[in-house]
């Protein structure tokens, strides 16, 4: 028989709680209202001095049974709920869901809508990675400065989303077979302006922090994720690529129009926190390239398939699993239709939750302060983890 992965290696590190020589272990509950757990996330941490010997995540403080809601809502009605999964990336959540439904119903999408989707997804990636860089630095203790710079840029992208879809974060923009509102030339020009200025922002940001010796010391060789564990644990997104595994759904699945664009996939070599941070920074630069190509090539045309139905949408019985490369990892939707207006089963594959599988493995042997930045580098949003 082949080897099974050892489940959670915490047992090996834990010595007797009452050790006469070393003293007691300290068990602390980080969260659910700890400043750096990124929401209502809780970790039961056992510390030996400052070293983590055991760490058990506790979920569910934000649980609202999203999947049950999806089963009791029409296909269209679930779309605004997907915004609220990972509220940084509503556009990619929308796309993943729309993709799954389109797969289920065999619904084609017009070319302009596909272009718009790519543009919005890449803007979302910029938005998410920028915020993550800010949050990660905040977790390492920078007094808000990188975070504020990140939010300054994020605000510009959110304004774009607002101008297009009407809402900054809860965009609810994609539809089965296209998009809801067409982009005006003025909007596309605004996107071009933001994209052109983004490189300069990244340069400044990297100058501020990437070469900073304190950051190097804090993040390098901290939370090393081995490629084998990453693959087995289903880690996806930048975290997987930081571990050196080349798996980007934009290349592998080639969904949407991604095969048309020329971009590279940055890979880390160490799989530590610094790699996770840097891979995201490099991905942003690739995203800028994709955005430039998409903005140059976007054609005119309809944005909605004329046969697509808004009201009374009932796909034939069957099932489909649609997944895309979200900024946090592979976001997938698994839908089973029984021919009624509501899906029979509506499942979200949450990248944040599954990326947390290895949290304990990464944190063991590091200090409490490292646990905080490792959590920060995993990039979770509790709306998606708890659903």
């Amino acid at each position: 028989m082949t080897t099974a992965f050892t489940p959670t290696p915490s047992g090996a590190h834990v010595r007797a709680v009452h050790d006469p020589f070393h003293g007691d272990l300290l068990e602390i509950s980080m969260g659910p209202h700890h400043p750096s757990t990124h929401g209502v996330f809780r970790m039961m941490v056992t510390l030996d001095g400052e070293n983590v010997v055991k760490l058990k995540p506790v979920f569910g403080y934000l649980h609202r049974n999203h999947e049950k809601l999806g089963e009791n809502t029409s296909y269209l009605g679930s779309m605004p709920y997907t915004d609220r999964l990972d509220y940084f990336c509503s556009m990619t959540n929308n796309w993943a869901y729309a993709l799954a439904v389109e797969k289920l119903a065999g619904q084609p999408v017009p070319e302009r809508a596909e272009y718009l989707r790519v543009i919005l997804a890449e803007l979302t990636r910029l938005l998410n990675h920028t915020c993550l860089a800010g949050f990660l630095l905040q977790d390492t203790g920078a007094s808000g400065t990188p975070l504020m710079y990140a939010f300054r840029e994020r605000e510009k992208i959110l304004d774009l989303f607002e101008a297009l879809s009407g809402s900054r974060m809860m965009c609810n923009y994609q539809r089965f077979g296209g998009c809801r509102i067409d982009a005006t030339p003025a909007w596309l020009a605004a996107v071009r302006g933001i994209v052109d200025g983004y490189g300069a922002f990244l340069d400044e940001y990297e100058e501020l922090i990437t070469g900073n010796e304190i950051l190097l010391a804090r993040t390098q060789n901290v939370g090393v994720l081995s490629p084998a564990l990453a693959v087995s644990a289903g880690i996806t997104g930048p975290m997987l690529r930081a571990a050196g595994v080349d798996y980007d759904l934009r290349k592998v699945d080639g969904y949407g129009l991604y095969p048309r664009f020329d971009f590279r996939v940055p890979l880390g070599a160490h799989g530590d926190t610094y790699d996770r941070y840097m891979v995201r920074m490099l991905e942003m630069r690739e995203s800028i390239g994709i955005l430039r190509q998409a903005l140059a090539a976007i054609p005119d045309g309809p944005i909605m398939d004329p046969k697509a139905k808004i009201r009374g949408f009932r796909p034939k019985p069957g099932e489909a699993y649609g997944r895309i490369e979200g900024p946090k990892g592979e976001i997938g939707f698994y839908l089973i239709s029984d021919g009624t207006p509501n899906p029979y089963r509506y499942r979200v594959r949450p990248p944040s939750l599954i990326n947390l599988t290895v949290l304990e493995d990464l944190c063991l042997g590091h200090t409490l302060a490292d646990a905080v930045i490792i959590l920060g580098s995993i990039d979770i949003v509790l709306g998606e983890v708890d659903r």
């Binding site: 979920f59 569910g60 797969k103 693959v231 069957g318 099932e319 489909a320 698994y334 599988t357």
Partner: protein, 216 residues
């Protein structure tokens, strides 16, 4: 990548004792799933992971599905020749059949090494009440760890061999499995009645009624 039929044939040859059937998927882009029996599920999973052709090293998605028992009304028509020599009569006979319910776990498997997929693996429980134990595939794919905990939590499927099978999203004292189709929401999720009027009213309705009827 091999088609599900080819995989099924290979599995049947490799594990003669295992029951591997194909579950068709009528959706336009759908592909058939492999339904394997619980007893061999882990062996087959290991095989799929290690097989050099498939190398399905990545379990993207694991989820439960609840299929409650269904009453299926089948109509059979039989034509009877009239012994009196008249026109033959058609008799419609309706038979009610109870299709037993079961819980199902679906795994979407991909290969990161070979960049193909998916292969959809399904495992079913015996029923929805007492035979709800399935082998855990966490030893095969670590990504199932939280997902199987979630299934255990929301569907009530017990995974044998799971390293840390606790509720994931609901709190430990919670009873019931919310994602089951027949789950009835309690009046109030909090244990103590809150001062919120609506909740109190609901609670009153709920707790006073049995007394009136004299049932406990």
């Amino acid at each position: 990548m091999e088609t599900p039929e080819q995989i099924q044939a290979r599995l049947a040859a490799r594990f003669p004792a295992a029951a591997v059937t194909l579950v068709p998927n009528p959706a336009p882009a759908g592909m058939a799933a492999l339904l394997v029996d619980a007893a061999h599920a882990r062996q087959i999973a290991f095989f799929l992971r290690e097989d050099p052709e498939l190398k399905l090293d990545y379990c993207s998605n694991a989820t439960g599905i609840d299929w409650p028992e269904k009453e299926i009304v089948e109509t059979t028509r039989s034509t009877l020749a009239d012994p009196a020599g008249g026109p033959p009569r058609t008799i419609e006979q309706k038979t009610k059949r109870i299709q037993p319910g079961y819980l199902e776990v679906v795994y979407h498997l991909y290969s990161m090494a070979r960049k193909h997929g998916p292969v959809i693996l399904r495992v079913r429980t015996g029923n929805r009440t007492d035979q709800v134990t399935l082998p855990s595939l966490t030893p095969v794919w670590r990504s199932c760890e939280f997902q199987e905990r979630e299934i255990y939590d929301l569907f009530g499927i017990t995974f044998e061999g799971h390293p840390d099978l606790r509720r994931l999203l609901m709190w430990d004292e919670f009873t019931g499995h919310p994602m089951r189709k027949d789950y009835v929401e309690p009046d109030d999720y909090e244990w103590e009645p809150t001062p919120h009027e609506e909740v109190l009213e609901k609670a009153k309705r709920h707790y006073a009624a049995p007394e009136k009827e004299g049932t406990p």
